[in-house]
Symmetry: C2
Subunit: 111 residues, 2 copies
DNA sequence: GCTCTATATCGTCAATCGACGATTAACGAT
DNA sequence: ATCGTTAATCGTCGATTGACGATATAGAGC
């Protein structure tokens, strides 16, 4: 039972690796980190604000938003003709769980 | 002062975005997540074990290890003819700080 | 000096990413 | 019905990634 968290069976572990990698990949671009930061500061915001804030073309920005949305990191609520974006608390929890697991291990194990 | 954490000046924020993105990018591949997970389970390990564990070619594995090392996520101590890899506690702290910041915000702000 | 072992680096190739402008879609307002 | 606004999607192009095998490097041991 004490191994429950640590030692997942191999195939499951691979799946988990895949999922985490997807999350990391979605965050692996400064523009997308910028969007996340923006959503932290103002707790919600509209697409055209994002375009203005990060200074890329509208189409490019939309792409970045789609990537974040596909990874479940942000939510987009339609408010015609706008879309209102916000962080997905579930994704934040997932991230937190992950990093907690890592930091627990390193605290215990790395001297 | 209460804004110190939240509201960093724009150019600094961009730098921070860049740095975080670099970190995320280094983790944005299942093989590399697998390596990190491996280093969590055994607290340290040698390159050739990694090759065997993740099942990619030696050259490919070495590349992944270099990427993680370049991002500061792992450390490689030379023990001729091997290299002994371990997680870098500083990187873990960095990640933790980041996610803590995010989760604090979402807890406070998103109802 | 060679040979073995463990890593790192090089060169190549297909696949993916990230940027852009142009176009399309959906609706509210006139 | 037409116009204006906001987002999403398409098509394209150069740059980057990830895979591999081949080669290079560095030291231990004979």
């Amino acid at each position: 039972m004490n191994q429950a968290v640590t030692h997942i069976s191999a195939p499951r572990a691979r799946e988990a690796d895949e999922q985490i990698a997807v999350l990391a990949k979605a965050l692996a671009h400064p523009a997308r980190i910028g969007i996340v930061r923006m959503l932290l500061e103002r707790q919600t915001c509209v697409g055209c604000d994002v375009v203005e804030h990060i200074g890329l073309a509208q189409s490019t920005t939309s792409q970045h938003l789609q990537i974040l949305k596909a990874a479940g990191i942000i939510l987009g609520e339609i408010e015609r003709p706008r879309v209102c974006y916000s962080l997905n608390p579930r994704a934040v929890d997932l991230l937190k769980t992950l990093v907690d697991a890592i930091s627990t291990h390193t605290t215990i194990s790395s001297r």
